[in-house]
């Protein structure tokens, strides 16, 4: 393994993984090396560009902490997140579609009772959110656990407010025995993904905007069903057709209806897919 050149190095690196005990890991590393090398060869990457790439990844790593996830942002804006979601969530027609997880989920959000206000002080126009969690047969699923998170009226999630020590516009509610859920929150607005870091610099350098259409995040879990990670988008929101992270699915867009008191109502039913035996 001396004198490797651009023609034979890829096979040499692949061969170095020959003794990988885990067959899946071996498959992944082999494919990764092939595609990574093909990219470098395709563009004839210069040493200066290689170093810029190293520096870019380093800066992504250094801005990432327990509240900021630049690598997920990077995956999102490169469409890798949505591609991965699409490949792994091919559900029967009628099921609610999945979309990207995003970087703003927090483990251990507070639990709320049905009807509670999960805004918990977050700034925004009041909005009631309600609907039913059902199976594909139309039968309600009792007791589905719904993890909800969203931005406030400034387009920021609670974790993006530096000095805020508690959850806002984020919480967990449990659907009732008839699969029905309802809670109060605020109207989500379009927002720019964090663009004060390397991913934002990349978007700017490539003439792309960092905006996402207004949406609520949901992660819905129920025994016997596949966990659903998705958004509900607001109809007529800006950026529905140019989502910076490529996450919009028409079936997830719904009208958020203004009420006579000025508040809004968002109604959306979730349809879960039974757990598959693989």
């Amino acid at each position: 393994m001396r004198n490797l050149n651009q023609d034979n190095i890829t096979q040499a690196v692949i061969a170095s993984f020959a003794k990988t005990p885990d067959a899946r890991l071996k498959e992944i590393m082999t494919s990764l090396v092939q595609h990574l090398h093909a990219f470098a060869r395709d563009v004839k990457l210069t040493e200066e560009e290689w170093f810029q790439g190293i520096d870019f990844l380093t800066r992504c790593g250094h801005i990432t902490d327990d509240k900021r996830q630049e690598f997920i942002l990077l995956s999102d804006v490169l469409g890798l997140s949505m591609l991965t979601v699409a490949m792994n969530n091919d559900k029967p027609a009628g099921c609610t579609e999945a979309t990207v997880f995003g970087p703003f989920h927090v483990e251990g959000a507070p639990h709320y009772e049905l009807g509670d206000d999960i805004a918990n002080g977050a700034k925004g126009t009041p909005c009631t959110v309600r609907g039913t969690v059902k199976g594909i047969d139309g039968q309600p699923i009792p007791g589905a656990v719904m993890d909800v998170w969203q931005s406030d009226d400034d387009g920021l999630y609670d974790v993006q407010h530096a000095d805020l020590g508690h959850a806002q516009a984020r919480g967990i509610v449990t659907a009732d025995a008839e699969g029905k859920y309802h809670f109060r929150s605020i109207v989500a607005v379009p927002y720019a993904i964090p663009h004060d870091g390397p991913v934002g610099q990349m978007l700017e350098a490539t003439g792309r905007h960092p905006w996402r259409p207004a949406h609520l995040h949901f992660m819905v879990k129920a025994p016997g069903y596949e966990t659903l990670i998705t958004h509900v988008f607001r109809d007529h929101s800006d950026y529905l057709d140019s989502d910076a992270v490529f996450g919009v699915r028409q079936s997830l867009v719904c009208d958020w209806v203004q009420q006579t008191d000025g508040s809004y109502l968002m109604e959306y039913d979730f349809v879960l897919n039974p757990t598959r035996t693989r």
Copy 2:
């Protein structure tokens, strides 16, 4: 741009880069997205594996600081560094070949006079290093500036010793008017690249060792010539045929000869390529 699926998302992401002002950046992003998506599609990456990838990159970022560069290590062990060097250093026959830069170069190393001991206290068997810097026509190149760095007898670079506040086995010497250089240092030994981080975990999980054969790093600069970044390897060293970073070139291997007093002598001439006008 709604309802993107695994068949059409790649074109949509590429289209998002359509307005990139810099043509080369556009070319790179387009190719990157194609190959990144092709990889994910090829292995049918799962959401769990995607998250493991995010976590891996995050850990690479967090272990990287001004003395530790996990992303360069990653590029090195995946053969991307050597591929990039090979593509960009196709020199005329007779020129000294280039190899990987590695993660241990430090800007601003101390300057030494010819004949000085650059070990500066580093542990190891004394070794004199000498030779000539020449052009491809055989004419000596006066005043070439040679940045040298190497590991000590423990297989560690100075920057890997936590409490060491100064350079050891690292320095800059300037060849004389006849292109000749000589300095004292220590015998380099095979060493394991840092493997207490995510890259080390990857090597272990794939049954690969982290070792490199014994070598000295050189970066040689002279006006009118291409900068040469290379190593000189020690003949008969372990790992010459299984270098963890794929960097060995036979033309860079030379015998380090033991002298009667127990010290060693390494003689190597460097042949630089004139700067090309592109």
